[in-house]
């Protein structure tokens, strides 16, 4: 009965993200915000970075952030000192790190057991050819909005980016964070020497955080490009409006 079918709405709801993916996504998003704010507060107490085991205002820095500091002992060139916020920032940073790490572990176990990683994140072999990759890259660089199929599954660049964030950047930011702990350094010296020292670990921690912020900006940009309402709805309610004729 073609007439009846045409009378039905063209779009309908379909499941997209599982409850666990949605909950861990938003918990991680909140943690990211808290870690970023407290991390910036901690950095401004000494906005100088070094390489190796040690570094202080008497040793040459690798680079210096051109910002004022919250400590009068740090020469910044600014004529003022910001208020010290390290106490609550450190408490908040470490408490949030616990929540983020436990959430990440839950997500990782779920991702392995449910097939989420295999199904949704590992790219198909055919998508990894240079041709396919450069086509995807060209689409992204032209800000081409994703097609209908990409509302249902991630494209190859998305898959590779998420894999990089989940399995490289997150573990690295946790590891370098732990390597700055004097007690962890005493129990697991390799965690520090692997990076060449505690100041190197601090510097890498900073750079990985910068990469994660860049990822966040691109991530939000892509959500807007793909259709903010529908993508947010998918990540909040788990369902996505889709055009029946395309499936």
């Amino acid at each position: 009965m073609p007439g009846l079918a045409a009378a039905l709405p063209a779009t309908t709801d379909a499941p997209r993200h599982s409850a666990l993916v949605r909950v861990t996504h938003w918990v991680t998003a909140l943690c990211f915000f808290a870690l970023l704010v407290s991390g910036i507060e901690i950095v401004i107490s000494h906005p100088r970075f070094y390489w190796g085991e040690t570094g202080n205002i008497f040793t040459p820095p690798l680079f210096v952030l051109p910002i004022p500091a919250s400590r009068s002992s740090v020469p910044t060139g600014y004529g003022f000192v910001l208020p010290d916020q390290n106490g609550w920032s450190r408490y908040l940073h470490f408490q949030t790190a616990w929540v983020a790490v436990l959430t990440g572990l839950l997500y990782a176990v779920y991702g392995l057991l449910s097939g989420h990683f295999r199904r949704n994140l590992i790219p198909a072999g055919a998508d990894l050819s240079w041709r396919a990759l450069s086509r995807e890259m060209a689409n992204r660089l032209r800000f081409k909005p994703p097609g209908e199929a990409e509302a249902w599954s991630y494209n190859v660049l998305q898959r590779l980016t998420y894999l990089l964030v989940i399995f490289v950047l997150f573990p690295l930011v946790i590891w370098t964070g732990l390597a700055m702990s004097p007690a962890i350094a005493s129990a697991f010296p390799f965690a520090v020497t692997a990076f060449g020292g505690q100041q190197s670990a601090r510097t890498i921690h900073f750079f990985v955080s910068v990469f994660l912020v860049l990822f966040l900006l691109v991530h939000i940009g892509m959500v807007c490009l793909a259709g903010f309402r529908n993508r947010m709805r998918a990540m909040i309610t788990g369902r996505i409006a889709h055009n029946k004729e395309h499936r």
Binding site: T59, R90, F94, Q95, T96, A97, Q199
Partner: protein, 252 residues
């Protein structure tokens, strides 16, 4: 209400109950095995409690890294401290011969020790890293008597759980648990890089706790009190640091 959502509601309730009782059991166990930091109350309490408990389980006996002489920092930095009160100036003028370290509390034989007496005890020299919570660090050789030796001399009572230490500087005091107090690298430090401990680094006497950050390494130590409970000291948070917003445990 459909069957499905009722089942969901019941299972959510069960999970929440299991979670809450799990937390309560964990808190009880942590208290029993001395894994609960004195500043575990408040909104940041859960994080501080988890960090302290996890690090105590993982690092109770671990040794801070020691470095070769070649890695000693050429110019060690110290945050400016200002002990110059009349009392400190008088002691300094006298070459610190009148400096006393009182050891009291839950000990069999309370004493008051001079620096000469501390120097007569077996000494230990170690080249370790000192990192400040701000982010800077340096490596130096620290020379002193292990705190555990002094605690053996005075004879700590079996119920002892913390050692509280006080600076000549007003308002500076802190405490460590017995894992750190009896740790072989925890030093009552009187020497640095082959010489006397400079005033800027806490001379004549500083407690070095190399597995914790700089602010636990209180300068100008004049008194140690052994106790089983930190409630009676200051605001009961274990040290002056939580009173100004910094965590009691600084192993991270």
């Amino acid at each position: 209400m459909s069957n499905l959502s009722r089942r969901k509601l019941i299972s959510t309730g069960l999970w929440a109950t299991a979670g809450a009782s799990g937390v309560a059991v964990a808190a009880g166990l942590a208290e029993r095995y001395g894994l609960l930091a004195p500043d575990h109350g408040g909104i940041y309490g859960p994080g501080a409690a988890l960090t302290y408990a996890a690090q105590r389980l993982l690092t109770r006996h671990s040794l801070a890294r020691e470095f070769p002489r070649s890695q000693i920092s050429k110019v060690p930095f110290a945050n400016p401290t200002d002990p110059q009160g009349p009392a400190y100036e008088r002691l300094k003028a006298g070459g610190f011969v009148d400096w006393r370290l009182a050891v009291d509390g839950m000990v069999a034989r309370p004493v008051s020790l001079s620096l000469a007496e501390l120097r007569s005890y077996p000494s230990r020299s170690q080249i370790t890293h000192l990192a400040c919570e701000e982010g800077w660090s340096f490596i130096a050789e620290w020379i002193g008597v292990p705190l555990s030796h002094v605690l053996n001399v005075v004879g700590i009572l079996p119920q002892a759980r913390y050692v509280v230490y006080f600076s000549l500087q007003k308002g500076w005091w802190d405490s460590i648990d017995m894992a750190d107090a009896l740790h072989p690298q925890t030093l009552l430090t009187y020497g640095m890089n082959g010489g006397e401990l400079p005033v800027g680094h806490g001379g004549p006497l500083r407690l070095r706790v190399p597995r914790q950050l700089g602010y636990k390494n209180v300068k100008y130590i004049t008194r140690l009190t052994v106790t089983d409970n930190l409630k009676g000291f200051g605001k009961g948070l274990g040290s002056a640091s939580p009173e100004v917003g910094y965590s009691w445990y600084a192993g991270i």
